[in-house]
């Protein structure tokens, strides 16, 4: 039963990956990365149960934290970059 879940998660990851490749705007890519990150957290949790050693869930917690931080970082620096180009344009 974990195997089914893991396979579905892999399919969803493939879809998110495709969106990250295609994404016309940068926000689409950010969204895809975020979605990919949450799916990775789930996949890691499921993989721990699949391997029968669920004491490695710390990694999933780190993922949830780091994913949040990196999304904030992208938003923050992308905002800056846009301001800079606007200033150049004027």
């Amino acid at each position: 039963m974990f195997a089914v879940t893991a396979l579905t998660l892999l399919v969803v990851m493939a879809l998110a990956l495709a969106r990250a490749f295609l994404g016309p705007t940068l926000y689409d890519r950010i969204l895809a990365v975020n979605n990919f990150g949450t799916k990775t957290v789930l996949l890691i949790a499921v993989m721990d149960f699949l391997a029968g050693r669920p004491d490695f869930l710390d990694i999933a917690i780190v993922y949830a934290l780091i994913n949040f931080i990196s999304i904030i970082g992208v938003l923050r620096f992308f905002e800056y970059a846009q301001q800079k180009t606007v200033e150049h344009g004027e």
Binding site: G52, R53, D55, F56
Partner: protein, 141 residues
């Protein structure tokens, strides 16, 4: 089984070659650094793949298990990752400084500026006066 047996190593080679290509064929220094990190990660995969044993579990001892994967590659790669980020940070700092003094991070633009500098200083050594309308500041603007 025979085909799958070497699959990991082939993928490692493919990744390494993609990284290598990015490093030698692209001229943007940031892109080169990304390529370098892809190259680096492929080496990590190689080490970790050699340490894996089928049916084994992670090398954290537990009386319930008796077959563990090899811990030595894990130790080497763990420290290599952290050293990798330190060197990447140093590389990025250098790129930022290059951008500030040359106004560009494309390799051929930097090289052409260097060549021009050299020619100017040679001309000066032969006694010609520096031509101000050809100096780098003017070209930049």
């Amino acid at each position: 089984m025979n085909l799958i047996g070497l699959y990991n190593y082939w993928i490692v080679v493919t990744l390494m070659m993609i990284g290598f290509y990015v490093v030698i064929a692209h001229e943007n220094l940031i892109k080169k650094l990304v390529g370098l990190s892809i190259f680096q990660t492929s080496v990590f995969f190689f080490y970790i793949s050699t340490g894996k044993i089928h049916g084994a579990t992670a090398p954290i001892l537990d009386p319930k298990y008796d077959l563990y994967s090899n811990p030595l590659p894990h130790v080497l790669i763990l420290t290599a990752i952290v050293v990798g980020i330190a060197t990447t940070a140093l590389g990025l700092a250098l790129v930022v400084r290059i951008q500030e003094s040359y106004g560009s991070i494309e390799e051929y633009e930097i090289q052409s500026q260097d060549t021009q500098d050299q020619m100017e200083s040679q001309l000066e050594a032969y006694g010609f006066r520096k031509k101000h309308d050809l100096s780098i500041q003017n070209l930049d603007e």
